[in-house]
Structures are given as structure tokens and as C-alpha cells.
């Protein structure tokens, strides 16, 4: 845990320095006339203080072996899920809601959940069409049409 706290403490320290630097580029003002940079500067300063305490406390801790990943962790599933979300974000407005959602369910059900192709296709189609009908026609949410613009 000692290493984890040291790394996270240093990361927070860098973030706090960044906040303070950008705050200084804004107008700070004075305590009796605080300006827009005053409050972020204060939060940055306090965060810096806490991160220093985390770093100091980490140096005093006994070295306890804690691994980042749990034993037998399914790292691949996490990485694939991340990539699929990214693909969804990139394609949603270009391809439209329906196509992207079907693709999302196919990819995630097959490569993260590990279902058979038959289950994947049925589940993806049903889930996508059902949510489309509910959100588009019942809740009247304006969903992107993408390549089906003017057809749906």
C-alpha cells in the first residue's frame, strides 16, 4: 500500500500544482475582494497540503505487499470494455444510435461476456430495438439518426 499511496500522493501533488499555476494566471484578488482565481487557488493549495500528508504518511507505513490486480483478474475484459465504450463514443453521432447500439451489444456480449454468437445476435437486436423504441417514441429523447437520417 505504501507504494500506492506514494504514487497517488505524487499524482495529486502534480494536479494541485497545476491548479495553482492556472489559478495564478487568472485574477486572484484579495481576501476583501476575492476574484475568479481565488477559490480554485485555495482548493489547489489545500489539495497540495493533503497530498503532501499522504506522501509523508506513505513513507512511515510498513511495506505491505498489495497487488494492483486481484489474483486471476480478467484484465482483458476491462481493456476490451474500455475500447468498446470508446468506439461507441466515436461512432454514435456518425453512424446513428441504432447501428452503434447493435454494434455495442454485439461486441460487449461476445468479447466481454463471452456469450455464443446466437445469444449475442438475439440479445443485441432485442436490447437495441427495445431501448430505441422506449427512448425514441415513449420518452421522446432525440437520438442521433446517423446514416439513417430521414429514414427513421
Amino acid at each position: 500500500m505504501r507504494k500506492f499511496d506514494l504514487i497517488s500522493g505524487l499524482f495529486l501533488l502534480v494536479v494541485s500544482i497545476g491548479i495553482c499555476v492556472v489559478s495564478f494566471q487568472m485574477e486572484i484578488g484579495k481576501p476583501n475582494a476575492p476574484s475568479s482565481g481565488f477559490y480554485p487557488l485555495l482548493t489547489g493549495g489545500v489539495l497540495g497540503l493533503f497530498s503532501l500528508i499522504i506522501i509523508i504518511q506513505s513513507r512511515k507505513q510498513d511495506e505491505v505487499s498489495v497487488r494492483f490486480w486481484l489474483p486471476g483478474a480478467n484484465k482483458k475484459a476491462i481493456l476490451i470494455a474500455f475500447v468498446i465504450i470508446l468506439i461507441y463514443i466515436l461512432l454514435l453521432e456518425r453512424m446513428g444510435f441504432l447501428v452503434t447500439t447493435v454494434l455495442f451489444f454485439i461486441l460487449i456480449s461476445r468479447f466481454v461476456s463471452g456469450h455464443s454468437w446466437k445469444t449475442v445476435l438475439v440479445f443485441s437486436f432485442l436490447a437495441s430495438v427495445t431501448t430505441y423504441i422506449v427512448f425514441r417514441f415513449i420518452l421522446r429523447a432525440p437520438l442521433p439518426q446517423g446514416i439513417f437520417e430521414g429514414f427513421l
Binding site: 504514487i7 491548479i19 475568479s36 470508446l86 431501448t131 437520438l143
Partner: protein, 500 residues
């Protein structure tokens, strides 16, 4: 309006069929997600936030409240039958509840858990009804320094009561305060930390931030391990506790209700803290402490009552002072904001329909939950068989959909993904999301009260210590901050309810 006309007003709100329906939807969803391990009320309410935007504010808050207290009922089912806590609050129920199931007494365990929850939930609602209005009246005297001091104390308490390091909790709360300041500064009409990205002018969206930290992070964490468990008793035919069970459980239910209610009043007073406190008390006062952990019904009745009383009491600081007591209350705070309602002392005065309607809905909701959790227990057990491989894609998809549909903005999806990764890393590095969410949501109030206080005092920071109420609040916050450095942080207290 007097007390009785307020109650009449509340019940006139809840007898509206739409509100009744949303109360039912709330408690049903609450029980469902309580039963399903791997999906908590925080993530569920976050998923529904965009939907609540489209509903009538009263209906949406009634539903959201139902999810919160309903989850406490459902959480015990998995603890008793599966030895997996459906909710973090029901961890302690596993100890004796699962042992009772192994001895063929799952029925009385589930029964006393539901009855205890009902009794505690009803009493907590009564307490909410009696305590909240005078407290709100008192809070009307608060000026900017008192509000600022109260917020500082609330953030300190959340960090103090968290299961991990207090300093880490405070660091997250401060990071949340900073994140809340991103966007257009309404005091000076200047943009801050926008870096040319116009979508940031309105600030980071509450919904994508919450969905990322709670929803996406939860899914990513759950994908790492497979949730498995053995159901000991799929059928629990005899749900009614015997006379002896009632005799053994009577005082634990009463004590659990009182403990839960008072723990729930405190910012940071999560359900876990109340259940651990109740369990310790029951074990201490019992004539047979050796039976605890081996199927003692007192070990189920006390904590189950405590966490329900706690969930009712959690609404008091939110509705009267505008202080969310834990991560989930912070999300409920957000849902009030999304619906154009400002939690705080004026909420009851300006929106009596909402306040008394929600109270009346809690009486009705608790009664619905008793029915849902006793005769329909078999249905909930069947839900336990839904594999996580089916649930995970759906939850992830609703996170994406929820983030996008609020403003039809892909930028919100990017924000959600970034906070999803941040939330995942925070879990790995043992940082809790609740203080961050709380800091983020109350940031505008903190900044506003801080700046106004400084303007009032002509720049003197002593204003926070020269006014009696703010001075007391600041001193308590300071003591809480210093205590852990002297090794005085309680070790038993659980985290805020964001863990799931």
C-alpha cells in the same frame, strides 16, 4: 399550516395515482438492485437521473427515495441466502443471517429482517416528520459563515467516517470542490479551467461525472472478478418468525431503530456504521454473546432495523440543511437540483407538497416493501440467477445512454469515460468516491458562502470563529480533522454508501 394539515397535504400528494406508481417503481427497483449483487442504489439512481429530468419533480424524488430505502430491504436477501451482501450495509447480516439459512431458518431470518426494516423505516419517517421542520426553521438563521462552516464540517465528517484514510477522503473532497469550480464563474462572469472547450462553460455535468464514478467504475471493477455464491435455501416457506423469535428480536429492533436514526442524522453517517454499531450493542447486551456469528436472530434484527432507520434519517440533513450525508444522498441532492429544487432550509417552506409528499410516500413505500419482500421473496430469489454477464452490458449501455441523452452531447460521454477510469483507479488506490462527489456537488454553495463571508468581514477569516454557530461547527470540524493524527479514528465504522 399546522402539523395535521401538513400530513393531510402529504397524503393528498401520494394518493395521486402517478405518484403512487412512481413510489411503487422506486421501491420495486430498490429491492431489485438490493437483491442483485454488483449494482447499488448509487449507480441505479445515477442511471435514472436523466429520466427524472423528464418527470414531475415530486414523482421523481418519491421514486428516487424509494430506490434508496428499498435497496436496504433487498440487500438482506442475498446476505441471508447467498452470504453475499447485496448492499454494503448488509455485510453484517451475513454473519448470522447466512448461518440461520444453513440451519434451515432462512424464513424467520428474512421475515424478521423485513418486519424489523418496516418498523424501523416507519419510525424513522415519523422522526423525519417531527425533526425536519423545526430544524429547517432553525437553519433559516444561518448566514454565509454558518453555511460555509456546516459544509466544511459535512465534508470532514464524510472523510472521518469513511473506511479508509481520512486524509485521502479529504483530498478527494477538495478535488471535488475544485472540479465543481470548473466552468463559468457566476460571480465574475469569467470562465475557469475551460481551456477553449466550450462544453465546459456550463461546468462538468453532474450526471456524466456520477455515472462515470459509480456506474462505469463499478462495472469495470466487477469485470475483474466473477461474482459467485451458493444459495442455501431457494425456498423459504415459513417466513413468519415464531413467538420466541419475536421475543428475542423486540429489543434489538427498538435499539437498532434508535441507533440507526441517530447515526443517520450525522453527515457521514452511512448505513454500515449504524449496522456495525447495532451489532456491537446487541452482542454486548446479550446474555448469550457466544451465539453471535452462529445464527443469532438478534444479529439480524438489530442491524437490519438500524440501516433502515438510518436511511430515513439521512433525509433530515439533506432536506433541512442542504447537507448530503453520504454519496447516495449527494446523488439525491443532484436529482433535486436537476429538478430545479434547492435543498436547504427553504425547501420545506417553498415546496411543502414535495416534502410532505415524500414523507407520506415513505409510509406507503415501507408498507409496499413489506408486501414485496415477504410473499414475493421467491421472485427475488429467482432474480439472483440472472448472470452478471447479462447485467453488465445493460448497465454499461444505460450509463452511456444516460450521459448522452441529457444534453445530446458526445462530450458528456467522454467526461463519463474519464471519470469511469478515474473511479476505477480510485478503487484500486483505496480512495473513496463519496467525498469527491459530495465536494463536487456542494462546491458552488461552498464557494458562494465563502466569498460572501469574506465580503461581509472585509476579508477577515476570523468571521468563521467570531459567530457562535459557525465557531462551534468549525471547532468540531477541526477536532475531527486532528483526531486521526492521535490515533483516535474509530476502526469499525464503515464507509459511506457509495461502495456499491
Amino acid at each position: 399550516m399546522d402539523f395535521w394539515s401538513n400530513i393531510t397535504l402529504g397524503f393528498s400528494v401520494i394518493i395521486d395515482p402517478t405518484n403512487m406508481l412512481f413510489c411503487f417503481i422506486g421501491v420495486f427497483l430498490g429491492t431489485l438492485i438490493g437483491v442483485l449483487p454488483g449494482l447499488g442504489p448509487g449507480a441505479t439512481i445515477s442511471l435514472l437521473l436523466p429520466l427524472t429530468y423528464r418527470l414531475d419533480p415530486i414523482s421523481s424524488i418519491i421514486m428516487v427515495a424509494g430506490i434508496y430505502y428499498g435497496a436496504k430491504y433487498g440487500g438482506s436477501t442475498t446476505s441471508i441466502l447467498l452470504n453475499i451482501p447485496g448492499e454494503p450495509d448488509t455485510v453484517i447480516t451475513c454473519l448470522d443471517g447466512y448461518q440461520m439459512a444453513r440451519q434451515g431458518r432462512a424464513g424467520p431470518a428474512l421475515g424478521i429482517s423485513a418486519f424489523g426494516s418496516f418498523i424501523a423505516g416507519t419510525f424513522a419517517t415519523l422522526g423525519l416528520m417531527l425533526v425536519a421542520p423545526p430544524l429547517a426553521e432553525f437553519a433559516l438563521r444561518f448566514g454565509p459563515p454558518e453555511i460555509f462552516a456546516l459544509m466544511v464540517l459535512a465534508l470532514n465528517l464524510i472523510a472521518f467516517m469513511s473506511s479508509g484514510s481520512q486524509i485521502k477522503g479529504l483530498a478527494m473532497a477538495t478535488l471535488g470542490l475544485f472540479l465543481g469550480s470548473i466552468g463559468l464563474d457566476i460571480f465574475h462572469n469569467v470562465d475557469r479551467f475551460v481551456f477553449g472547450y466550450n462544453f465546459l462553460l456550463e461546468g462538468l455535468g453532474i450526471v456524466p461525472v456520477i455515472l462515470g464514478l459509480f456506474g462505469v467504475a463499478e462495472i469495470l471493477s466487477n469485470l475483474e472478478v466473477e461474482i459467485k455464491g451458493k444459495i442455501f435455501q431457494k425456498r423459504a416457506p415459513n417466513l413468519l418468525p415464531s413467538l420466541k423469535d419475536w421475543k428475542d428480536s423486540f429489543w434489538p429492533i427498538i435499539r437498532g431503530t434508535v441507533v440507526g436514526f441517530f447515526v443517520g442524522l450525522m453527515p457521514g453517517g452511512g448505513g454500515i456504521a449504524s449496522t456495525f454499531a447495532s451489532y456491537s450493542i446487541e452482542k454486548r447486551v446479550s446474555k448469550h454473546p457466544e451465539k453471535f456469528g452462529k445464527g443469532a436472530i438478534e444479529g439480524v434484527a438489530g442491524p437490519e432495523s438500524a440501516n433502515n432507520a438510518c436511511s430515513g434519517a439521512n433525509f433530515i440533513p439533506l432536506m433541512t440543511l442542504g447537507v448530503p450525508t453520504n454519496g447516495i444522498m449527494a446523488i439525491i441532492f443532484a436529482s433535486l437540483l436537476i429538478n430545479g429544487l434547492q435543498p436547504g432550509p427553504l425547501l420545506i417552506k417553498n415546496n411543502p407538497n414535495l416534502f410532505w409528499g415524500v414523507i407520506a410516500s415513505m409510509y406507503l413505500g415501507n408498507a409496499m416493501l413489506l408486501i414485496l419482500n415477504l410473499p414475493l421473496i421467491g421472485m427475488w430469489v429467482r432474480f439472483l440467477t440472472i448472470p452478471y454477464t447479462v447485467l453488465a452490458p445493460m448497465i454499461l449501455f444505460f450509463c452511456l445512454l444516460g450521459s448522452y441523452t441529457l444534453k445530446n452531447s458526445v462530450a458528456d460521454l467522454v467526461v463519463m469515460l474519464i471519470f469511469g477510469i478515474l473511479g476505477f483507479l480510485m478503487r484500486k488506490f483505496r480512495y473513496e468516491a463519496a467525498p469527491l462527489i459530495m465536494g463536487f456537488i456542494i462546491s458552488e454553495m461552498v464557494e458562494g458562502s465563502f466569498i460572501r463571508s469574506l465580503l461581509m468581514s472585509n476579508g477577515s477569516f476570523t468571521i468563521f470563529f467570531t459567530r457562535p454557530i459557525s465557531c462551534v461547527l468549525m471547532i468540531v470540524a477541526l477536532v475531527l480533522f486532528i483526531l486521526p493524527f492521535f490515533g483516535r479514528k474509530p476502526k469499525v465504522l464503515g464507509s459511506s454508501d457509495d461502495e456499491k
